[in-house]
Each structure stands twice: as C-alpha cells, then as structure tokens.
C-alpha cells in the first residue's frame, strides 16, 4: 500500500475512535467530575508515553536539533495559548455560562489534536510500524479526551450525536496534520529530528498545562499519579515489546 494511504488510514482510525468517547454519556446526561479527572490522567499518561518513544528516536538522529525542535514545540504551544487567551482555560467546565467558552474549548482542542497529528506524521516517517503504533496509541487516548469534550458540549445543550461528530471532526486535525507532516518530512528528511523534537515538546507541554492541572482539581493527586504513571508505563511496555 502507498505509505501516504497508510498514514491517512491510521490517522483516520485514530480520529474516529473519538466517537467511542460518547459511550459513557449514552445512558446519563452528565458524567461525574472524578471520571473527567481519570480520563485526563489516562490520556496524559498515553501522551507522555508517546513523547518518550518519539524523543528516543529524535535524539538518536541529532540530539541538538531534536532539542531545539522540542523547545520550539514548547514555545509554539505556549504562544498559541497566549494568543488565543487560553493559558488558564479549563477544558472541562460542565456548567460554564460564558458564551465564548465553547468556541475557546473547540479551538484549543483543535490545536491539541494538530500536535498529535504531527507526532503521528513524523513517527510514520521514522518507521511505518512505529507510526502505526503511535496512531493506535493516540486513538486510544482520543477516547477519554473525547468523553470530556462531549460532556462539555452536552453541558452547553448540544445533543449527543452532534457532540460526538464534533469530537471526531476536531480530531480530524490529527488526520490533516499527520498527512501533511508525513508528506513534508518525507520530502525533506533533514527535518525529521527537528519535527520529532517539536512533537515531543508540544505533547509534554500539553499534558502539563491542559490535562494534569484540571484533573488534580477533580480527583486527588494519588489517583491521578497512579493512572498517569501506569498509562505511561503500559505504553512504553508495548513499545518495547514491538522492538
């Protein structure tokens, strides 16, 4: 199969997994706050595990360039939060009444999924099997993240099916960026270390700024720490098993 088709296929699979995030909301109008905290922690652990795998690959190529890329990724994500005025935005307020809140959450979520698309795209360039692994990891992590997004949208009066469709559409950013980054980096292989560093920087920063602060507020640090570190460990274990 054409490698670009493989990227398209697996990143689309990842984005579609977001629809499964609607499952916990089928039989209840609202999920308990603690579930949101757990979902964030699991998603965060999977993102950190992905960053771990990607950082090893980038550092093996060119350590300084990969580090530069990572700092760029951190700075870029900080910048987008600053420009969009979302540095202190909680992405999980179920009863927020501010009318601009919904659009801010959607914008931030799109930028978030774009970063994950970069990670999938660059991993695919490094090695197709690694890329597929990355896409599947992101797919699993999309489920808890989508549950949160759908819960927020439900709280703003959006019906379940449109909310689930919206979650999949937001994660379409992963498809878009995976395909574009795969094409660009394949065409310019010299940018591989830089781009993998960039993806590592954004993934780590997003976990620290978007996922963990909120989950600590909803559930005690002990539960969050267990879920995050075990989710991270499982992903690293699976990656090691692939060799």
């Amino acid at each position: 199969m054409d490698p670009t088709l493989i990227v398209l296929l697996y990143s689309s699979l990842a984005a579609s997994a977001a629809a499964l995030g609607a499952l916990p909301l089928i039989r209840r109008a609202e999920v308990p706050a603690s579930w949101i905290g757990w979902a964030n922690a699991i998603a965060g652990g999977l993102m950190l595990g992905s960053a771990h795998a990607l950082s090893g690959a980038g550092m093996a190529l060119e350590p300084f360039v990969a580090t530069g890329g990572a700092l760029l990724g951190i700075g870029f994500t900080y910048g987008t939060h600053l420009v969009s005025d979302t540095e202190d935005l909680d992405l999980n307020r179920l009863h927020e009444t501010d009318p601009t809140y919904g659009s801010k959450v959607l914008l931030t979520s799109f930028l978030h999924s774009a970063s994950e698309g970069i990670a999938i795209g660059v991993a695919m360039v490094l090695d197709l099997r690694f890329g597929i692994f990355m896409a599947l990891a992101i797919a699993v992590h999309n489920i808890p993240e989508a549950t949160i997004l759908i819960a927020v949208m439900r709280g703003r009066g959006v019906r379940l099916l449109p909310a689930a469709a919206l979650a999949v559409a937001i994660d379409g950013g992963q498809v878009l960026f995976a395909v574009v980054v795969f094409a660009v980096v394949s065409a310019a292989p010299g940018s591989t270390a830089m781009m993998s560093g960039f993806a590592v920087g954004t993934l780590i920063y997003l976990v620290l700024v978007e996922l963990l602060p909120e989950s600590y507020r909803q559930t005690g640090p002990t539960t969050i720490a267990v879920l995050t570190s075990v989710a991270m460990g499982v992903l690293i274990l699976l990656r090691g098993g692939l060799g």
Partner: protein, 244 residues
C-alpha cells in the same frame, strides 16, 4: 589506586544527600522564601526527575520490557504504600507556615522515607553504567534542593538555627547513600534483577513527580509557568543524557 565500586556508589549517594543541605542556603539571606519560589523549584525538579526516569526506562527496556514494567509497578506501589503507612498526611509547602512540632517531625519522616526509593534508584542505576548513574545522581541531587528548601522553610521560622536546618535537610536524605549501596550490590550480584531495580526506581520517581512535585508546583505558580519550567528541564535532561 582502584577504589571498590561500592565507595563510588556511596559517594554519589552522599553528594545527593549533601545537595539537600543546599536548600537551607537561601535562609542565610532571607527569613522566608516565597511560595512561588518553592513552586518554581518543584516544577524544575519535576522535569529533571521525569527526564531521568525516561533514561532509566530506556536502559531497563534493553534488558527486558516486561521486567522493567513489573519493576515500575513495584516502585509505584512502594511509594503508595509508604504514603498509606504514614497515614496519608498531605505534606504541602503552602501549609507549612506556623506548623507545629508534630508537622515538623512528619515532614522529616516523609522526606526520609522518600529517600529510600531514591537511594535504590542511585544504586541500581550504577549497574547500568557510570553514565546512567551520573544522570540519575544529578537529577536526584537537584531534586533534593527544593526538598531541603521545604524542610528549612518549616524549621527556620520556628527559630531553628541555620546549621540545624541544613543538618535536618541532609539527615532526611541520608537513606540515599545508605540504600544505594545494598541496591547496587544486589543488582550487581543478580544481573536478572537489574531491569526490576531500574524499573522500580523509574516508577517511584515518576510517581513522586505526579503525586507531589507537580501538584505542589501548580498550587504555587501559574500552569503556563509550570509547563514551561517542567517541560524545559525535562528536555534539557534528555539532551544531557544523550550527550553523556
């Protein structure tokens, strides 16, 4: 002259313990440190510890992913267990002001128990080579500074002398050299134990980052400040390891 490796292990552990005493130094100049300064140093320590455990996990995975993972779970369980054993007292820097003697004792005990896991980390990392050991030792040493800061921040306002602040800080980290040696001897003698030991250390360190360092950092500083400091120091730590 060839020193027995045990002395090197002990010396590395001693360095990290002494680094804890550095946390008392700011009190030479000030009566108290701001909550934000403690939060910033916790955020930096969190990044360094995460970066160091990235290296530990990579080392362990070369010897066996499954064993490393089991070790990781044991490390998490160890810290969880000690927390339970101590009665799940949340020791938070924000609450330290005006704390009583019981609180002081508790903090020293909590820190001391933590040092056990860090000592195991230092010792087992030696079995992975001197480079890995240096990385882990540097990370733990720097991480110890805010711990010493936290201890001194409680003791100093109670009228404790500077020397005693530094002394208690170092005392809280003494298990590091003391635990590093048996941990090293163990993984050195039983090579199959190596990935378990390395995984244990990584699990304990990562868990401490998520259960203590990050929540405390986030309480005293904005999330973007924590994000920048922690992510930045994590990346720096990964580079440091790649260069060694």
């Amino acid at each position: 002259m060839e020193l027995h490796p045990v002395w090197t292990v002990f010396a590395y552990g001693l360095v990290t313990a002494l680094a804890t005493g550095v946390g008392a130094l700011p009190f030479v100049f000030v009566r108290s440190v701001s909550v934000r300064a403690v939060a910033y140093s916790n955020a930096i320590a969190a990044g360094l510890m995460l970066g160091a455990s990235f290296g530990l996990v990579a080392e362990g995975s070369e010897w066996g992913s499954a064993q490393t993972f089991i070790g990781t779970l044991l490390g998490i369980a160890f810290i969880l267990g000690t927390q339970r054993w101590l009665g799940s007292h949340d020791v938070e820097v924000g609450e330290l002001r005006g704390a009583g003697a019981r609180k002081m004792l508790l903090i020293v005990v909590v820190m001391t128990v933590h040092s056990f896991a860090e000592g195991v980390a230092i010792g087992s990392s030696f079995a992975g080579g001197l480079t890995l050991a240096t990385v882990i030792t540097v990370a733990i040493a720097i991480h110890n500074v805010p711990e010493g800061l936290a201890i001194s921040a409680v003791l100093r306002p109670q009228g404790t002398s500077l020397a005693a602040c530094a002394g208690w800080s170092i005392f809280s980290s003494l298990p590091q050299p003391l635990m590093a040696v048996p941990a090293f001897l163990f993984v050195d003698a039983f090579q199959p134990a190596l990935p378990y030991g390395v995984g244990f250390a990584a699990g304990a360190m990562v868990f401490m980052v998520f259960v203590e360092l990050l929540p405390e950092a986030l309480e005293g500083a904005s999330r973007s400040a924590v994000g920048l400091l922690t992510a930045g120091s994590l990346v720096a730590m990964i580079l440091f390891q790649a260069l060694l």
